[in-house]
Symmetry: C2
Subunit: 469 residues, 2 copies
């Protein structure tokens, strides 16, 4: 094969793979020649060959462009619908599906992104861009930006929770925070107490770190059975407990003050480290925030993890750990995973939090979420109560729906998908395939007339599906 | 204890912990009362008590501020100097020490941060801030921003390396890229072939993932002994090979084209997955870039990892994987670690890469690094050659220095630290404590007269230390 044919074949592959999109300009002859090492003449012949094959168009004085009609392999964007999919596949599919602007994302883990204060954050990002200096990247190494850590500590202080900026480590979102926390308080093979149902991220992290799980049931009514917790701690040498004390994902319930005190005592008695996932903390419904379980733990072996993803902005990927005595160990662990978090977004958050707009935004967000959650609850209660129980507790934006035990919500998930609705089936939140008759519903989206219509269709399809039992 | 005394004690603790810094304003009486639930009167009494204790100052019409003379527990910023420290402790200390603007960071893994094009990046960040939309966070979910992936693929295409945008996954830096890659091609207990000496991140990742390492020596002269590679592949069922084909960290050498072809054939023959760390690829010294080893691997089971951290900006924490057939598995694995990378920095990189400034910057960067590396090499050759061998190969910014076998460079590391110079001792790059007589020197910093003076002092101290042998 001649050299120009070789190059043409290479370029043709690139065009088919989408490296060069239809209509896009290819590098100039001179540039292509400099980069690939082929002579100018070889490049010209290759371009001419591709032009003769209809893959390129030559335009007067503007070089060669990819023809408009070329088909690329591109994104398919279609979801799998096999009956047996892993939790991870599910989460992946639900996240990917949420990219579709026409999808009604009731399975989404984040609140409606239109609730984030985009304009204020844009201003703060621009301000942060202007503030970066030669050494910013170094100032923001673990444990993270000093001013940001202080602002976070001040927010805790305002609620009476004593957390020093020195124990705070900034992470790439809450999931990294939780996974690093688990790593510093456990060794592979250790037992970890988790809730059931639980956030799938917790179960996946346990699996990935070679940890063994012992579960305690979460009930929509009374939350945690303390006697069951103590039995679990007696039955296994539990090293750590991962839980959400506020607006638990997926059920939505929170621990009472008394239960938090009692749990803290149990953890102290059995020397169990606490890894607390507090990402919904800011989304309380009443006037007063809930205090984290860490606040009640006197023994110091507790790590409080949170982020801005659910309350301010999902795309920044900034979380933190109030790590107590483990702060230094966490930073060292971070050097093995992501090294540090992005500098500009840390600076942007400092700028935003200093403007005091956050309180106003949170106030508005809490009101909107509370209203939308009530609307969704009313809708489901009215239309679904003949075949399902809808649990509603104030705060956050999740509703937990229970069908009859023989119903498989995976089937409902697939029904919904055909209507461009995602749902989070209960199995996602289970270690042993339990909760297959449950659904978590994201109630953060406005119930517009179009969405109500879509829900009506879904209701009809569910009823048809249930008629078979 | 009265309520106001309780609150005062809480606030005093917060002040000592640095939540409120000297001179900083405390929340107003009304705000403090609203947040803590104490009455206005209780808050006032608490503030007055702290004022009487000298911890707060009341200022006319501007509320209460923390007194200026309060001592906080603060950052100590002092490095440990115990003789036995783990690799991780070292890396942590060297990174933390680099924050000190007076430190001469010869142990630093990144190039001199003043070489990054800060002003252009600032503009791009501001532009990105203006571009974010409600759905940006969704558009940038795994595999990452489509335009960014295409721009990266185009850079490869320009060198004749065929990589489709569809196989590229954006990650939180190269280290996450490498660790995710290892995870998808291995199971705990598997054998992985690595170089010796090797990037410590590789060894740490292997340890964290429960993988077993088999090593092949890297020589400053001929790089890899292919017969030794084949013997290793024959002796163990090696699943993957992690290596750097260009400007290997720490030794600085690169694989020849012939060695890359031969290695690719070996990996094909023994069905070994390639995890290639290509972070220094852009820092070549001549006119032509080096082609990655992946380019020669026809079997498709190869993952090419890189980032912008060494060539454009360290603080963005954006890397990528050209993952071939593993692209989807990588994205699913990402949902278990960081979910996705920060949206604004992805958008900023797209903006920057589209401006074409990157080529100009790289051109300048390569020239500066080549000059500085030569300067440092000349200095060390002149002053150290009586007691050490300094290896110099073109490209990148590392020099590899070998002392006599009985010398422990850990001692030299500590000598240097007292002069505010960091160094990277050879042990950092070894699985079995080898290379304890070697040093990696970062040659990316300008050799100013002040730095030359400092190096002279270091040389004298090293000579004194070596006199004992």
């Amino acid at each position: 094969m001649a050299k120009y044919e070789q190059l043409a074949e290479q370029l043709a592959t690139q065009i088919k793979q989408g490296v060069w999109q239809p209509g896009e300009k290819l590098p100039s002859l001179r540039k292509q020649s400099a980069m690939t090492g082929f002579s100018l003449m070889t490049v010209l012949h290759a371009y001419q060959l591709l032009e003769s094959q209809g893959m390129l168009c030559a335009r007067e004085r503007s070089g060669y462009r990819v023809a408009d009609a070329i088909e690329t392999t591109g994104n398919t964007g279609v979801m799998q619908s096999a009956e047996s999919v892993s939790v991870n596949d599910f989460v992946f599919d639900v996240l990917q599906a949420s990219r579709d602007p026409h999808m009604f994302s009731l399975g989404f883990a984040y609140p409606d992104p239109s609730l984030y204060p985009r304009q204020h954050l844009t201003k703060s990002l621009s301000a942060a861009a202007r503030q970066t200096t030669v050494t910013s990247a170094l100032d923001n190494l673990p444990p993270g930006n000093q001013a940001l850590r202080q602002l976070i500590a001040q927010r805790y202080a305002a609620r009476g929770v004593n957390i020093s900026p020195e124990e705070i480590v900034i992470t790439a979102g809450a999931l990294e925070a939780l996974s690093l926390s688990l790593q510093v308080v456990t060794q592979p093979g250790d037992w970890v107490l988790i809730e059931s149902p639980a956030f799938y991220g917790a179960m996946q992290a346990l699996e990935r770190l070679g940890l063994r799980a012992i579960t305690v049931e979460v009930s929509p009514d009374r939350r945690l059975n303390l006697a069951a917790v103590e039995r679990a701690l007696q039955s296994k040498p539990v090293k750590a407990c991962w839980l959400m004390s506020a607006f638990q994902n997926p059920v939505g319930v929170s621990l009472s003050t008394e239960d938090k005190q009692a749990l803290a005592e149990l953890f102290d008695k059995y020397q169990v480290a606490l890894v607390e996932d507090d990402v919904y903390a800011e989304l309380y419904a009443g006037k007063q925030p809930l205090l984290p379980l860490k606040h009640y733990c006197q023994h110091g072996n507790s790590l409080l993890c949170s982020s801005f993803s659910k309350s301010l902005v999902a795309g920044f990927r900034i979380g933190w750990i109030a790590a107590g005595q483990h702060a230094k160990a966490i930073q060292k662990q971070q050097l093995l995973s992501t090294i540090s978090t992005s500098v500009p977004v840390q600076l942007a958050l400092v700028d935003y939090l200093e403007t005091k707009n956050y309180e106003k935004h949170l106030h508005q967000l809490r009101r909107t979420l509370a209203r939308r959650k009530c609307d969704m609850f009313e809708y489901l209660k009215t239309h679904w109560s003949s075949f399902a129980t809808v649990h509603h507790v104030p705060g956050g934006y999740f509703l937990w729906v229970e069908f009859a035990p023989q119903v498989d919500t995976l089937a409902i998930y697939h029904l919904a998908l055909k209507l461009r609705i995602t749902l989070a089936p209960g199995k996602l939140f289970s270690l042993n395939g339990e909760y297959s008759h449950c659904l978590r519903v994201n109630a953060s989206f406005e119930l517009t007339p179009a969405r109500r219509q879509l829900l009506e269709k879904l209701t009809t399809r569910i009823q048809l599906y249930l008629a078979q039992f």
